[in-house]
């Protein structure tokens, strides 16, 4: 018992020393998880289904921006304003590809089943099939080994906060993530499209009686979620590199984040992402690096056990 306490106290000591750096890294990851998680939550809202193919939206965004960056940046190391431009282009390319792929997924793997009124199991199977098709297709066309992306920025510590160096990369993610998530929140709360998304999420049949075009709304919901997922794919790939299986683990974590925050709840998904990223980052102090991925899974099972509706509760169809 004494040894056990000693084990944990020594680990808490490391956690104390490394708290701020871990927090910064964790929040940066958290924003990425949040960006992917809103895709799950949006689709869950309108269809009551987990979009298993969302991981491939993320992967597609990563790959598309990888090729564009390779072409634009090459081996140069951009700085300043050009760097900002490249990142904007990357986000745009990633987001566009993501939303196109998400639209294709909806068109091929979901809509025909919706027209045939298939059982829920069929949707899950066709989505997982679409996911396997997409990432293996990417593997076939773009090679099956990991490559690092041409860096559109020069990474260096910008400033320190409580002794933790905040890197350029972290700042890019904070700003890009926060802006996009804020934009999404406004979109869903204020615009006509947002209102139709919420209406379909609340009650699709009634919404269609009120003149909401369900097919169009569902397609656009996929596309909006896909845009954020694809952009997250770029931001993630920029740092980690791209490979055809890159979507699997981050998407699983993003789903955990969505459940943690309360599925169907947009702000919850972001909060869940941030909490998950931070907790995962802190778990470095306790776990060997190869087990970091277990943290998210443990959290998922724990949430399902203790509070399956998530921190902020399920809110299908209400604004944010």
């Amino acid at each position: 018992m004494g040894g056990f306490i000693h084990y944990f106290s020594s680990h808490f000591q490391t956690l104390g020393q490394e708290f701020w750096p871990l927090l910064v890294g964790g929040l940066a990851n958290g924003f990425l998880y949040g960006m992917v998680a809103v895709g799950y939550t949006l689709v869950y809202g309108v269809l009551r289904l987990i979009n298993f193919a969302h991981s491939e939206v993320f992967m597609a965004g990563g790959f598309a921006s990888f090729f564009v960056m390779q072409h634009l940046v090459g081996t140069s190391s951009p700085n300043g304003i050009s760097s900002v431009l490249y990142i904007l282009i990357g986000i745009l390319v990633g987001g566009l590809t993501g939303s196109l792929i998400a639209m294709a997924i909806e068109r091929v793997a979901y809509r025909p089943l919706r027209k045939r009124n298939s059982p829920k199991l069929a949707y899950l199977i066709s989505a997982i099939g679409a996911s396997y098709f997409l990432f293996n297709f990417a593997g076939k066309e773009f090679g099956r080994y990991s490559v690092s992306m041409a860096q559109p920025y020069t990474n260096h510590p910008l400033f320190t906060i409580f002794g933790a160096g905040v890197q350029m990369y972290d700042i890019i993610i904070f700003i890009a993530g926060a802006l996009m998530l804020f934009g999404l929140d406004r979109l869903v709360t204020l615009t006509k499209l947002g209102r139709s998304i919420r209406a379909v999420a609340q009650d699709a049949e009634t919404a269609s009686l009120m003149g909401v075009n369900i097919d169009r709304t569902i397609a656009l919901t996929f596309m909006i979620g896909g845009a954020l997922g694809g952009a997250a794919g770029f931001l993630y790939g920029m740092n980690v590199g791209v490979v055809y299986t890159m979507g699997f683990t981050p998407a699983l974590k993003a789903f955990t984040a969505a459940v943690l925050g309360g599925i169907g709840n947009l702000r919850g998904a972001v909060l869940g992402g941030l909490i998950l990223g931070t907790m995962e980052s802190f778990s470095v102090a306790f776990l060997a690096p190869s087990y970091i991925d277990v943290t998210a899974f443990g959290i998922l099972v724990l949430v399902l056990l203790v509070r399956p509706t998530g921190i902020m509760g399920e809110r299908l169809g209400r604004s944010a």
């Binding site: 066709s126 076939k140 490559v147 699983l252």
Partner: protein, 436 residues
Amino acid sequence: MKSLLTNKWLKSFGITATLMVIICFMTGPSGSNTDPVAGFSGSLFNSAPFLGLFITRRWVVFLLFALIAFVVQQGWQAYGRQVKVRYAKVMATPRELKSKRPVRLGTYGALLLLALLLPHLVTDPFWQVAMVQQIAVYVLLALGLNVVVGFAGLLDLGFVAFYAIGAYATAWVVGSLPLPPLFGHALNNFWAIPIAILIAMAAGIILGTPTLRLRGDYLAIVTLGFGEIITLFANNLNGITGGPQGSRIIPHFHLSLGPLKYVWGNGPIPYYYLILGFLILFLVGFSFLEHSRVGRTWTAIREDEVAAESLGINPLKYKVMAFAIGAASAGFSGVMTASQQNFVFPTTFSLFFSINILVLVIFGGLGSIRGVVFGAIVVQTITMYLLHSPPSGYQPADLYMYIGAMLVGMMIFRPAGLLPATRRKREIVQLREEAQ
């Protein structure tokens, strides 16, 4: 322009052509991340034979295919109903015969005889090994997954985890892991069977109970994660599982009943018969299960959970039961694989594995035992054939691309599978009619 887009013929040709473009890219050469266009341009502009008649560019070939498919599809739309009626008339006598008990028993008997004689008919060593490792074991796995996905309607994407648990439990019991064996000394493989089944079942219950209380789709993602986690543990717990190097040599199954001694070794054939024996046991067991009280309860829950609950059924209990039975049969298959292959490696239990089993179940027919057996044999034989003599442009890693595409296609066009279970088919048709 708008009239062009709404033109029925043009639209249906567009769909066919898109499908053909996708198939054209799928079957074409591969690209790489330094030359991402290579795969696509090669798929379009390489030359290929058209039905063995003449050689031309691939895009022309696939355009011709698209035209043929379009004509067939239009013809089917125009005359399909008549063909169906005529087919039903022709098949009326065989169908009536099929439902007669002696005929059915005779068919089963003939199939059993064929299964018994198969190792003597197929003598190619590649196929003999494939028959055991890739077909018989996979039929076993598919039958187990069918209980979860087919009978109870729960999507289990982490089937590989229970398979791995079974395999590692075997290695543990026979003393081939760094971890000391269960009872202090190595045991016969036969002891591994109940132990592996128990451990896998326990894992299934522990994982299933919290998840199955909630929506069915949560189970899918939790099991997906679990499959990944198990591989992670297998790969990293060096002191327990042997890490990436895997286990030490696992002995074969062996019997010593007094004077009678027998070792399952020397080629795959003895294992073929051993697995066949268990397979028949499973087949009979699961058939009874399907029509038992439990099987009917699963159907009730699958079709309408609220109604089932209002009749006093505890859905959680039955769902966990199905999940645990599936886990147990995966664990059992793990014992077979570990003993036959003599080793356990973490890489065997990849992410792709569960999907591979799922496609066997879907292809033959969810919930239909004969369909699943048929589907598993057909799909695995095709897979093995592709591995044995790959056509140009095919790499073994492409397999999962085809499997993914097949899952989507099956769900759209034939969700009940090739040999559908009567009940399942009715469920799907009913849902469709409700939609119209």
